[in-house]
Amino acid sequence: MATMEDTKLDMYDDAMYAVDPQNVEGELTVGTKQKANLGEPEFNTLDEPIRDTILRDLRAVGKKFYHVLYPKEKKSLLKEWDLWGPLVLCTFMAMILQGSSDTADNFNDGGPEFAEVFVIVWIGSMIVTLNSKLLGGNISFFQSVCVLGYCLLPTTIALILCRIILMVQQTTFLFILRFIITVIGFIWATYASMAFLGDSQPVGRKALAVYPIFLFYFIISWLIISHST
């Protein structure tokens, strides 16, 4: 019992809990100065207008999109991950790509369903990430999922262009045009994600980690080129 008492006192001192729990005093500060680093201005997020909060997050998402389209700076996408961009892109793609199950002539469209596109994108990027973790890459799980999701942007743009082309009467030339657009989107996405993720692997295993990324975007590009009305 005596030892218990001693240790208790030690604990008290260590944890700096030497305050009377009955009447706690102190200042309630939110957003201390240590948090506001990395070039962010010092502000208190508690009493700012909601518009500012939303705009700041939107700006962060937009900046990430910009870095995907112009993959020059390597660390920009890895600094702070979020999954808003991937969610938006994935939902959009799933909505466009889903095959309608009840068309007029009662033929199944043959395309994937909404949930299937969703599963391919999310489970696919998770498997790719897990693969690079298993190979010994030093990158956090969600960072990699975030990068893979944001790098869907070129393929999504390709999908929008293909969708516009599909509105007119189809010819062989238009198919070739769609094919070229999809291939460009695919190469762009693979290149961007490799720029961000390529360095995280041990030397002899780069190709092993890149191949699943390549396959991931290849499958999504296949879905895009196969999508027809």
Partner: protein
């Protein structure tokens, strides 16, 4: 009263806090670490003492046993990293030699045995699933492109069928083979078996072997889109024989016995059956090409026919009366 209650609550709170930090780094954790260390030491001693086993293991060249890797928790990623411990050229070599049967060199012993991995089997299966789905769609398109009025649609759900078939084949067959070999193998005459190097292969090794043996079907799947019937069937035969030959050559020391013929027919037969199944289900033209137009014709023709029949009936019945 309030003060009393406060202190009692306080002491409870404190004692609760006490337990975890002091017990863990203190006695419990230390004891566990000690146990682990002593265990390892014991194993090391046994290995060193029993000279025979040690020599045999040295002959085998199993570095992982002697190094005694730190035991990882089953739920951590580090536990599984040992299945993915390969470099790019390892994988390329394994894929290459899984397609070329070699008389002298036993593929299983020289390539798979030292360090079986799961990277190759997994990604080969995934690639094969999607290459079969994609090239199956391409083949279907090429077959229907000539007929004008047929509106071609791509069939995404080939992916599910291909995935089911391939993952079942790549998992069930090695599992069954492993179980059969394990339970029918001769009673454990340990040293003799080890020296003759005919040890029953582990499940991981068989999974790895079978996964790599599917690699040849990936290029073949794209070649199957060519619309020449004899070429496609000869591709089926060549692919199945090549990778099946590697499989047989690898497993020949293990399956040598009175049931050898059964093993050979099962292994080669299943491999051929898989290839033929791919070919017939995903690439075969006539069956699909015939059935769809017939059903379409029937659905369009049926109303007119029945209407004609009705009118005929209406006409004929008064005549009879």
């Amino acid at each position: 009263m309030e003060g009393d209650r406060g202190t009692s609550g306080d002491s409870q709170f404190i004692s609760f806090q006490d337990f975890s930090p002091i017990n863990h780094p203190g006695s419990g954790g230390q004891a566990q670490l000690d146990l682990g260390a002593s265990d390892h030491r014991n194993f090391g001693n046994i290995n060193n003492d029993s000279v025979g086993v040690g020599i045999i293991e040295d002959l085998h060249g199993m570095p992982d046993k002697t190094e005694a890797p730190p035991a990882r928790n089953f739920w951590t990623i580090e536990y599984y990293q040992k299945f993915f411990d390969v470099n790019t050229n390892d994988v390329v070599e394994r894929i290459k030699w899984s397609m070329i049967p070699h008389g002298v060199d036993n593929y299983w012993k020289t390539h798979i045995r030292p360090k079986p991995d799961l990277y190759g089997p997994f990604w080969i299966c995934v690639t094969l699933v999607f290459s079969i789905a994609i090239s199956g769609n391409m083949a279907n398109y090429l077959q229907t492109a000539n007929s004008r009025n047929y509106h071609w649609r791509y069939e995404f759900h080939l992916v599910s069928y291909a995935a089911t078939a391939i993952f079942l084949y790549a998992w069930i067959l090695p599992l069954a083979l492993w179980a059969v070999l394990k339970w029918t193998s001769s009673p454990p005459n340990m040293e003799e078996e080890l020296i003759e190097d005919n040890k029953v292969p582990g499940l991981l090794e068989l999974l790895c072997l079978y996964g790599y043996s599917l690699a040849i079907y990936i290029p073949v799947a794209f070649l199957w889109t060519v619309q020449i019937e004899w070429l496609r069937w000869s591709l089926v035969g060549i692919a199945a024989l090549l990778s099946g030959g590697v499989l047989l050559r690898s497993l020949s020391p293990v399956i040598a016995g009175k049931h050898k013929l059964i093993y050979i027919t099962v292994i080669l037969g299943m491999h051929l059956l898989l290839a033929a199944g791919f070919m017939l289900y995903f690439f075969h033209v006539p069956s699909k090409n015939v059935t769809i137009p017939i059903s379409a014709i029937v659905s369009t023709v049926q109303p007119t026919v029945s209407a004609a029949l009705n009118s005929m009936n209406n006409k004929t019945i008064p005549n009879v009366q």
